[in-house]
């Protein structure tokens, strides 16, 4: 019996493929297999013999069956391994190309600004880019002969012969949107107005088109101190540094009174700008309390309402925050620039996610 066992186990271990195993199965435990035949002989044995041989034959049969299935699994594994070995690929080949689009820094920064001011309750107002000179100047307390008009480097639209109206202008600032928003909504009001503006100027640091964002908040008791807080909060959130320090400097804009230019504390070392530290001050925006005449032009009673307005350059904010050196490159569409300074489509600025991700 032990010989029999050994014979089959050896044969199973030596079987080269599934067919050989099947043959062995038939020979050993098949209906007419050697072990099956032996089991039939149990009936001819004495009960005592049967009691000994029965369990032994059963055990042998089980053992052979297990050996068969173990060997079968081993053979299958070996075959699979062999196949997988043949399926080797060079994984250092490049992945299938996927185009990678980008969002322009101006769009990204505009969304960042919008997210911050939205949290403070400011909606987004819009206005036309070709403006009447009334909205661009007169309504903002810049009468026709005011010297400030000359300083605006205004683009004028051509007038047809016989059309004697003053020429329309390409808006020189986003401030006319203040007037339109006040006329449309009245007070109280909180809006920002980002968008394209135009000045007839082109050199190292100026382009004839750039982007501004206007801010306007009118209520019964909004003060310049509120303005400072709003701008501090904005700068802290936008530049993503805690210790932002702003300095208000008296200045003059026809549409605000009092007016202030606002500087931010920064350091310039090795061509790198750091906001919130150092001993330098950099001018970042103009602001002030809305002039009563401007409120009146917007259809709001200056005896009853007061508030602030500010304007700042979006392109400039983008340059400062993201270390972009040249304004002119913003509008050149150089693919290398777009890829380098652009933002991913899914990188939507939110306050809960952190603006710059």
């Amino acid at each position: 019996m032990d010989d029999l066992r050994q014979k089959y186990l050896d044969a199973i271990a030596a079987a080269a493929d599934e067919a050989a195993l099947e043959e062995l199965r038939v020979t050993a435990v098949g209906k007419k297999g050697e072990i099956s035949l032996k089991m039939r002989e149990l009936g001819k044995m004495t009960p005592e013999e049967r009691q000994v041989m029965g369990p032994r034959l059963n055990a042998l049969k089980d053992e052979i069956n297990s050996a068969l299935s173990a060997r079968k699994a081993a053979l299958a594994d070996a075959a699979l391994n062999e196949r997988l070995r043949a399926e080797w690929l060079d994984v250092t080949l490049p992945g299938r190309p996927r185009p990678r689009g980008t969002i322009h820094p101006v769009s990204q920064v505009t969304e960042e600004i919008t997210a911050i001011f939205a949290d403070m309750g400011f909606a987004v107002a819009e206005g036309p880019q070709i403006e009447s000179d009334w909205f661009n100047f007169d309504a903002l307390n810049i009468p026709p002969e005011h010297p400030a008009r000359q300083e605006h480097d205004t683009f004028f639209m051509a007038r047809a012969d016989g059309d004697d109206r003053p020429p329309h202008v390409l808006r020189t600032h986003t401030s006319p949107v203040q007037i339109r928003a006040m006329q449309a909504q009245g007070a109280p009001i909180r809006v920002i107005a980002p968008g394209r503006v135009y000045r007839c100027d082109y050199d190292q640091t100026h382009t004839p088109m750039f982007h501004q964002v206007e801010g306007l908040a009118i209520d019964r008791d909004i003060s310049m101190a509120n303005l400072k807080w709003v701008l501090e909060e904005f700068c802290r959130a936008f530049f993503e540094v805690d210790g932002v320090e702003l300095r208000f400097r008296a200045s003059h804009f026809p549409f605000t009174e009092p007016s202030a230019e606002v500087d931010i504390r920064c350091s310039w070392t090795g061509g790198t700008l750091k906001i919130g530290e150092g001993d330098d001050w950099m001018e970042i925006l103009g602001s002030g309390m809305v002039h009563p005449k401007v409120l009146a032009a917007g259809g709001i009673d200056p005896e009853e309402w007061q508030g602030f307005a500010f304007g700042m350059g979006i392109d400039r904010l983008a340059m400062l925050k993201y270390g972009i050196p040249d304004l002119r490159a913003f509008f050149d569409s150089d693919l290398r620039w777009l890829r380098h300074y652009g933002f991913s489509a899914l990188d939507r600025p939110t306050l809960h996610g952190g603006l710059s991700g």
Partner: protein, 799 residues
Amino acid sequence: MKFTLSWLKDHLDTEASLDDILYALTDLGLEVEGVENPAKKLEEFTIGRVLKAEKHPDADRLRVCQVATALGEQQIICGAPNAREGITVVVAHPGTYIPGIDTIIQVGKIRGIESHGMMCSEREMELSDEHDGIIELPSGEVGQKFTDWLAENDPAKVDPVIEIAITPNRPDALGVRGIARDLAARGVGRLKPQAVDPVPGAFPCPIGVTIDPALKDKGAPHFTGRLIRGVKNGPSPQWLQDRLRAIGLRPISALVDITNFFTYDQNRPLHVFDADVVKGGLRIHPAEGNETLLALDEKEYNFAQGMMVISDESGPESIAGIMGGEHTGVTEGTVNVFLESAFWDPITIATTGRALKINSDARYRFERGVDPAYTLPGLEAATRMILDLCGGEPSEVAADGAPLEMDRAFRLDTDRVARLVGMDIPAEEQRATLTALGFRLEGDTAHVPSWRPDVQGEADLVEEVARVASLTKLEGKRLPRSHVGVPTGILTPMQKREAAARRTCAALGYNECVTYSFIDQGSAALFGGGDDATALENPISSEMSHMRPALLPGLLQAAARNQARGFADLALFEVGPAFHGAEPGEQHLLVSGLLVGHTAPRDPFGSRRPVDVYDAKADCEAVLAAIGAPAKAQILRGAADHWHPGRHGMICLGPKKVLAVFGELHPKVLREMDVKGPAMAFTVWLEEAPMPRKKGATRDALGVSDLQAVERDFAFVLDADTPALNVVNAAAGADKALIEEVRVFDEFVGGSLGEGKKSLAITVRMQPMDRTLTDEEIEAVGKKIVEKVQKATGGTLRG
């Protein structure tokens, strides 16, 4: 506006340091743009005396000097010819930077002998171009700082020059006196009194002055002048020349320098005529038109009718308030001078100045506004200075008109000031500030000083108080939310739509560009623009002459630039306005995408293929889907000429409602714009798609069936120009309830089908909802599909 520190101190009694003054100026709104302090680079130089000077043993031209200095006796080798015993000199010790030669002096050996420093020439200290020898001072103590000696003996050499920016509202700060007044109000010193005593006239003025009635009300309300005879017009004294040079003016002659002095000292431009050249009286009048004048800038000007001029009997002699005439200008030989001090209306001056394109100091000041009350006092003060510097005898004053009445007063509401600014400024301080600025307070009423034309209301009083109190001290105060709690969304549906379109394009692999809103006429014309209505009057260049009618020309130019840089595969997009007219609001919001070259770089998998119309179509539809445009739309042909006539489609809701166009751009357009094509593009009119009706956030319930869907394929033989969409729509119409989707999966043109024919294969997916379909039912639907397609397109089932 430039001035020097010593000039400021003529008007301001102050002990404040230069830095304190600079800080106060900027903080007051007189922003310091630059400071040149010559003393700064001379700080380390001290005075010494040469005790002994002997010839260098190895060099004929060098002397070995023993010099008494601040650091004791030092040996200094010197090559100056005047280096000799006993002279008082300026010494630079080792370690001192010598600006004139851009070197730091070191202890060194010169031909074997040690030298401990340097004795300097004026040029080496950048004091002048003098370099014939070292400085010999007439006085000075050994060890004394050279800058201290200069301050005592030659102050102009160490007088800091300050330049400030003047905002248009502050003409008074165009005079040093006005700047001093601001500083005094801030507490940086005391404004020195300035009294003007009239100078009695010795004889009647032989030159009469009259203002034409047309100008008396507006233009030239007040004109004063007088003759001073027997003057000697030579160079002006050194102090005056120094001052004018320091602020960048060229001294000319005493008479001219005096007028320039008053321009900057008091913001009081004056003019001097050579009285011997003036014929008869002076008349201020509007030009009749076409008169000409050779002005002091040696250019000839032709006057349009109405321009304000000053004429004598022989015609115009001066462009009033802007520039005098060459003919009557004073010269070195002038002995009889007519001095003019007048008040000119700012708007008249601005209009004429702009028309004649003259930028003069006088125009700059008169158009911002000079003090009308100082017209006559200015004449008197200048008379006195002429008498002092040039001698002579003054006539009585000749005048016409009267000082402009500018008295106005506003209520000072000290509480309102505090409320607007958000700073606690005591009422008394507010009143003191205004008083120091020259306002006259009567109770709560503040009368505005004559030199502040900008103050026109209560808000201006607030500004004065706030800026003098210093906005730097302003503390931020929280602006409470207008709405308590979680902020709500603030974007309008259109703003969200714009953002969605932008992010979708970037997600599809396009790079966002921001291109100029103006473009050259040729490019604009290719896209339906470039007409006179959208032209700029004053474009910055011919490349930017017209408002863009579309975004594609800008993107094509960007593509051409990138192709020139070696980038052939491009996917660019822009979101922004295009302009269909030049009235406010005649703009519309577009998103355009441009595809040029291939879909991908070469790779081992053969992904690369040229971009085609269907890429543009897919991207266009993705954008439309992202902005919530209706899924069902027609596709029509016949868009603008810049599209390939056979390879574009307009996605429309009816023939007049075009939501978008996609397709290949016309090869001619590409050639004109220097783009190597072909190029695919799309444009979506973001404002055209109707806004979905708002129905809350809840979605319709999802209706799905557990029953097996059935797909059947059909191939039709059709005329080659039959739109696939017609086949799809016809098939879908066979059983609208049962047919869930019809999709084209193959197209085959020509070949065995013959010329002008194509085969189109569609798959139809049928989704039963209540019971499984039987073969017969499927067969019946199939038959209906074939019939419908045949009826709609004439196509037959392919055998």
